[in-house]
Structure formats: structure tokens, C-alpha cells
């Protein structure tokens, strides 16, 4: 657990691709630009002094206030954060990466795109599928981006804050 020391190393190596960091949080995180995530992750895995060979989890968080009053007071604009939790078996240290993308790419309904890291860690394969299924992030370059927990003909992404449960699904009442 030494997040701060990684930031300088990554900034030196990747410059503008490292868009920010939060070192005050209990688990410090580093923000990476979407176009650089595969490059940064490959480096994190292959650099012997870092050796992040184990990917714990890939997930995303939807930031959107449904309540307009709360939205007006909010410190952030609506967006999605894709979160990567990494660990090194050799050095026993961990790291949190974040990729911040808009909720929709362009017009509403078009999923935002983040390059897939399934080629870096095989764990990410299923985790990205789950993330696509439940939160609606399109992982470009993923070998098999299908829904994994919901049925294949399910509409919408349940973990979005503005998701509404369908009224019926194949004759089953939804709500």
C-alpha cells in the first residue's frame, strides 16, 4: 500500500496520460486517460519493480443525481468512473486506477468507450463483461463483450442511477 510513490513514477513515464490522483483517500487512486489505460496497465504488469500481475476487480460507478435539488448542489458533473483494483503477488502491494468517461458517448443511449484490458489480465475478461452488462460501459477490443449476469435480451443497464425496471419481461411482471 504505497499509492503516492507510484504516481510520480507513472507521471514521469506517461506524462499527460495520467490525468490526476487522489492520495488523501483511504485507498489512494490514480486517474488515467481512457486512451492510455492499456499502455499503463501493460507497463504496470511488466515493470519488475511494480509487477502488478493480479487484477482483483474491474468495475464502474455511475455518478448522477436523480434528484434535481441534489444535482444543483453537487460538486461533480454527471459521469462514469471505471475502477481497476490491482495487486502484486511478488511485492504484495496494491493500486487503484480510475478511468473517467462521460455517461453517454455523444447522444444519450450510446455507451461510452474504454479500451479493454482483457489482454493484460484474463480476470478482466469476465469483469468487463459484468461491467458492460450492469453499468453500460463499452470495452473496445474485448474478445467477447456479451451480457453475463442478465439475460441476453435484457434492456438497459441496472446499476445506472437512472435505470428503470421494465414493466414486464416475457410475460413476467416487473414492478
Amino acid at each position: 500500500m504505497s499509492g503516492p510513490s507510484f504516481v510520480d513514477q507513472l507521471k514521469q513515464k506517461f506524462g499527460g496520460l495520467i490525468t490526476g490522483a487522489n492520495l488523501e483517500n483511504i485507498d489512494p487512486w490514480i486517474e488515467v486517460a481512457p486512451e492510455g489505460i492499456v499502455e499503463v496497465c501493460t507497463y504496470l504488469r511488466d515493470e519488475p519493480s511494480l509487477a502488478f500481475d493480479y487484477c482483483n476487480s474491474v468495475t464502474a460507478v455511475d455518478y448522477l443525481h436523480i434528484d434535481e435539488k441534489k444535482a444543483a448542489k453537487s460538486e461533480w458533473q454527471p459521469h462514469l468512473e471505471v475502477v481497476y483494483h490491482l495487486f502484486s503477488m511478488q511485492h504484495k502491494h496494491s493500486l487503484v486506477l480510475k478511468v473517467i468517461v462521460p455517461r453517454w458517448s455523444g447522444e444519450p443511449g450510446v455507451l461510452p468507450e474504454v479500451p479493454s484490458v482483457a489482454g493484460v489480465w484474463s480476470t478482466a475478461d469476465w469483469h468487463e463483461r459484468e461491467c458492460f452488462d450492469l453499468i453500460g460501459v463499452h470495452f473496445t477490443g474485448h474478445p467477447n463483450l456479451r451480457r453475463i449476469l442478465c439475460p441476453e435480451d435484457w434492456v438497459g443497464h441496472p446499476l445506472r442511477k437512472d435505470y428503470e425496471m421494465p414493466l414486464e419481461y416475457h410475460g413476467i411482471r416487473g414492478r
Binding site: 500500500m1 483517500n25 483511504i26 485507498d27 487512486w29 500481475d53 493480479y54 487484477c55 482483483n56 476487480s57 468495475t59 460507478v61 455511475d62 475502477v83 483494483h85 503477488m89 504484495k92 496494491s94 487503484v96 489480465w121 484474463s122 480476470t123 475478461d125 469476465w126 459484468e130 450492469l134 451480457r147 453475463i148 449476469l149 442478465c150 439475460p151 441496472p158 446499476l159
Partner: protein
């Protein structure tokens, strides 16, 4: 030429068509509602595709609408064979965010309960694996002992499957009077019985034939696919969160004597008399995954004994549960704990309200199952239950 011994050697003048076979979702050896689509060529499986989600309840969405203590019953229903360990994982994650933990007595209580949970879970893992391979008796033996653990749990918290016992800040109640004696009596009873399990399965010639050298997973693959628990250690990776995890979790085991069960330099830790590794077994195969579970079972007996000793010597309270609607500090935390099936992780994002903004459960079985297609490549149909069973998955945890 095809030989009787090895059907994988295919005679060239025999042409078979590829066939898609559905195994599950209600197949007895898929451990719940898992559907595997097998692409087979005669007896040889060329590809398996797991289809999951039959138990999906979107527990994470529910977690966004409940306070942390209200969500504890939902963690019970994830790995329902080790519900105590699920409670513990979630409680520790919230404690990491709140930056407080249970007092000394609560800490030892948690070790007793969670290690008993591990014993119960590994017993089912062992029994059900016997079922997968076509022998019924070990299952009955395992459930006979598991029943006694459930009785102990019932006495402590009133429930037999979904406990909601360990909670943020400690536990919901202290252990009742006389409980420790009953627990010790049970451990004394269980310890010699483990030899029976070894005789039934571990050293059984048929069992060895069905598992040794089957589904071999190299170290690199185990790490690459994010497997954890006995599946990871069965491949010889020396990693156990009880020793290597974050401070929040390892503090619980502070001062406890135990060795990580993993084969190092060709040897398993030698603190008990275990049956020898058969010559046919290869590190990372089904037999080793099973064996690690069996050794962990014995180790947990020892850990519970140590914890009982410490618990009975510690004074004061077992912990003050957090208030039901207490506001959470702003921030986000992720914590993984060593549940019986592997590393169970919880992730909380809090925006300063009593209800978390986002809750996520990282399931160990989910990652462990994701390696199955890789392990089952060009194996025999009969080996599919052996391989999937050796991963010891629980669908409630995968589908959440």
C-alpha cells in the same frame, strides 16, 4: 490407433460430428444453477462455455438503497455455504471506512466463528466433490459433521444458514454460556474423523485416478485469471490474505500461529500427519486443489482452538455494533478477505450519507469459474465435473 486406455487418440478412419451438449442448469454436478455448453467431438470436449446469472438478484443495486447493517443479510445469501465469512468481509470493509474495529474479545470471537465457517464450507466442498465423482458416502460423512457446526451456530445466533451474526463493530450477540466447551468437544471429535475422509477420498485409488493429473493449472494461469483461495494455492502460489492481506484484516489474526497451506519445494507444511502426495499428482491439478482444502480444514481446527483460548482469557465487551443509520464518512474503500472459496472483496463508495453511493462485491467463485473453459480444453466429458467440482464454486456468490 485408438486405445482403450486413452480415448483421446482418435482413429483416423472414424469420423464423428461435433455436438453441442447442455450440462445444466439443473445438472447435479454443476453445484447449483450453472449451465455449461460443451462442444464435444465424441468423448472429447473441445470447448466449454459457462452461462451464469440464473441466481442474479443485483444485490449491488439493493446495497445502494440500504444502510451497511441492513445489507448484511444480503451478504449471507452470496456464499450461502460460508455466510459467516461473507458477513465478516462486509463488516471489515465498512470498518475500514469508519476506521474502527471490534475490541480484543470481538476479534477472537470473529476468528472462532469464521474458522468454524471455513470448516463447514470445506466439509461441503469435500462431500460435494465426492458426489461429482460418483461416490455418495463422503457427502453423508461431511454433512454429519457440518450439522454439528450448524448446531453451534444456531445456538450462537439462532440461524442455521443465513446468520447475519458478525456485524460492523463486532457481533450481534456474545457466545452463550457453555458454548466454548461444546465447541471444544466438537473439535476433539472432528480431528480423528479427518483420517476417515482421507481414507474415503484423498488416498482412494479411484479418486486419485479421477483427479490426479486432471485439469492442471500452471501458476501463471492461476494468477492471470485472478483465481484465489485453495484454487490458487493448489497451483503452488504462496498467497493467503490471512497473512498477506491488508492491515484491517490481518490484524484479526495477529499473534496466531499458522502456516499457509501451499506446496513449497515439493512439500506441504508438516504440522500434522497427512497422507503423502501420490506420484501421479501434478501440482495444480484437481487432486492438489482438493488436498489444500483438506489440509486447511485441519489447520482451521487448530486456529479455532487458539482462538477459544484467547477469547476465554480476554476481558470486556465483544464489540459495539454500529448504529443502524449512522452516517458514513466520505470516501471509498476496497477490502478483500480470505473466505473459504477465495478472496471475497467488497467495495464501498460513500458520499457522506448513511446509505452508500455504490456497493460492489467481488466474488471469488466468479473468477475461479472463469478459468474453467481454459482447464477443460480437450479433456474428456467425464472430467468436466471433476474439474468444475474441484473449483468448489457456489452460484449464489457468482450471480449475486
Amino acid at each position: 490407433m485408438a486405445t482403450v486406455d486413452d480415448p483421446r487418440t482418435i482413429e483416423f478412419d472414424v469420423r464423428t460430428d461435433e455436438m453441442l451438449v447442455n450440462m445444466g442448469p439443473q445438472h447435479p454436478s454443476t453445484h447449483g444453477v450453472l449451465r455449461l455448453v460443451l462442444r464435444t467431438d465424441g468423448e472429447v470436449v473441445s470447448e466449454i462455455t459457462p452461462h451464469i446469472g440464473y441466481l442474479h438478484r443485483c444485490a449491488e443495486k439493493i446495497g445502494e438503497n440500504l444502510t451497511p447493517r441492513q445489507w448484511i443479510p444480503y451478504t449471507d445469501r452470496m456464499d450461502y455455504l460460508a455466510a459467516m465469512n461473507m458477513n465478516l468481509g462486509w463488516a471489515l470493509t465498512v470498518e475500514k471506512l469508519l476506521k474502527y474495529g471490534p475490541p480484543e474479545k470481538g476479534r477472537h470471537l470473529r476468528v472462532i466463528i469464521s474458522e468454524l465457517g471455513r470448516i463447514a464450507s470445506h466439509l461441503v466442498g469435500m462431500g460435494a466433490y465426492g458426489l461429482d465423482l460418483g461416490t455418495f458416502s463422503p457427502f453423508l460423512y461431511a454433512f454429519r459433521e457440518r450439522e454439528k457446526i450448524l448446531d453451534l451456530f444456531e445456538e450462537a445466533c439462532g440461524a442455521r444458514l443465513t446468520y447475519s451474526y458478525l456485524t460492523v463493530g463486532g457481533a450481534t450477540a456474545d457466545l452463550p454460556p457453555g458454548w466454548l466447551q461444546k465447541c471444544e468437544a466438537f473439535l476433539d471429535e472432528l480431528e480423528p474423523i479427518v483420517d476417515e475422509y482421507h481414507a474415503l477420498l484423498t488416498t482412494n485409488a479411484i479418486f486419485i485416478k479421477r483427479t490426479a493429473g486432471i485439469g492442471v493449472m500452471p501458476q501463471e494461469m492461476a494468477i492471470d485469471f485472478g483465481t484465489s483461495g485453495p484454487v490458487l494455492r493448489g497451483s503452488g502460489v504462496d498467497h493467503d490474505l490471512r497473512r498477506d492481506g491488508e492491515e484491517t484484516y490481518t490484524a484479526m489474526y495477529d499473534g496466531y500461529a499458522f502456516e499457509v497451506i501451499v506446496q513449497k519445494n515439493g512439500h506441504y507444511p508438516k504440522d500434522h500427519d497427512y497422507p503423502a502426495v501420490p506420484t501421479e499428482a501434478v501440482l495444480g491439478d484437481c487432486w492438489h486443489r482438493f488436498y489444500v482444502r483438506m489440509l486447511e480444514l485441519v489447520q482451521s481446527i487448530d486456529l479455532v482452538r487458539q482462538a477459544i483460548d484467547r477469547y476465554s482469557r480476554s476481558e470486556g465487551s465483544y464489540g459495539e455494533p454500529m448504529k443502524l443509520n449512522q452516517k458514513l464518512p466520505k470516501g471509498e474503500v476496497y477490502l478483500e478477505t480470505e473466505a473459504p472459496r477465495g478472496q471475497m472483496g467488497f467495495y464501498i463508495v460513500s458520499n457522506g450519507e448513511a446509505i452508500p453511493w455504490r456497493v460492489r462485491a467481488r466474488s471469488s467463485s466468479f473468477c475461479n469459474l472463469s478459468v474453467a473453459p481454459e482447464l477443460c480444453r480437450s479433456c474428456l466429458i467425464a472430467d468436466v465435473p471433476a474439474i468444475v467440482g474441484s473449483l468448489d464454486i457456489v452460484m449464489g456468490e457468482i450471480d449475486r
